[in-house]
Amino acid sequence: MYDSNTAATAERKHSDSRSVVSSTAPSKRVILPMGGKGGVGKTSFMLALAEWFQSHEIPVTLLDLDTENKSRGSLKHYFDGRVTKVNIHTAAGLDAFVDHLAEGAPIILADMGASSGQVTHEWFDSMFEDVAATGVAFTAIGIVTPDPASVESILSWAARLQDRVNYVVVENAMTHQADFSYWRDSEQAKQFRTVFQPVVLTMEFRLPELENPARQHGVTLGQIAERRLKVPELQRASLVIRAQSYRRRLFEEIDKAKGLLLP
């Protein structure tokens, strides 16, 4: 039976089995969400990931490639000043990966928008082989929700990216008792898991009292947990403690995939 707790086993298998990205150990890594479906929590997870790297004092380069999402909810909204906005809808938009890696960044976190599929797939088709040969590995983050469209989106991306990336799938519980049937039980998703053995993480349901003002004010869980802001509705002791708990548990989940997140 499929169980998300098998993540650690899957990760071990990944490091043991044939390297899907490069025959040599990668020296750099690009992490990008598979952005086919909007509103599934891509940016929320990328934010958590950025904070996870920050907590380990590992430098990351943040790229905001979500051209549709211009203000609230974009990576730039949360990390303004540290985020480079990139327009991927140009002939060489994703070449930004190569340029930033060449400048010395060991890890790139690239937040992709919902309409980035075609551009990304074409970029992989034309550039992957030569970029991977320079020691760059790629990790694709898939976010699934109870909505089957989120699962279909991941499967579509995987059918194009194939084994050129490592896969991490995040089950984002957007409701209290989320039902991931289409992700856990559908034949196609099962086949995806068998072939690519993704590391599966859980992102638990967050209270709207915390989530909504955090989005509105562009603040991260870390900022709430460490009381580093002046937003009255996010200073309640109970919300601060909740933010601390969410962050701790999410970091524990992310730890399970560290082999696919570090170069």
């Binding site: 279909e152 194939q162 049937s181 034949e187």
Partner: protein
Amino acid sequence: MDAKFEAILNSLPAKEPRSRLEPYGELIIEMRKRGRSYREIAQVLKKACGLKVGASTVNDFVLVRSKSKARPSLSTSRTTATKKNMKGLTGTYKDTEAHKSTGRPQKALEGIAKTIKELKDRPPKTRAKKLLFQYNPDEPLRLHRNQRTKE
């Protein structure tokens, strides 16, 4: 070369070196090999040769020289490449030349024809990889709840 062209070439005055440092090229390169800095080389040239140049000029000179040495001229590299590519054909080509005198051109032509046939028969390199995972977005996701319960 045509005698007329050769005469024209011979009538041209010798071209002066493009850099004042050209006559000291070997000395400069040797000093670099021995670990001398550009500034030191410039000082040696001033003291020993009476040539006043800046360290950056020496640097430029060494760079240009090393580049021209590292990158053979186009005609040379082309010749090398052609020779390399023709390796398999060399014998045949020689045969052709020889056959002019021996009167056996047929054998040489057969050799070339064989090479051409081999090249034609060689399948083109294909970059298409077998897909590990296929997904048809037009098909709905198929749930297998019962199977999961059994597992």
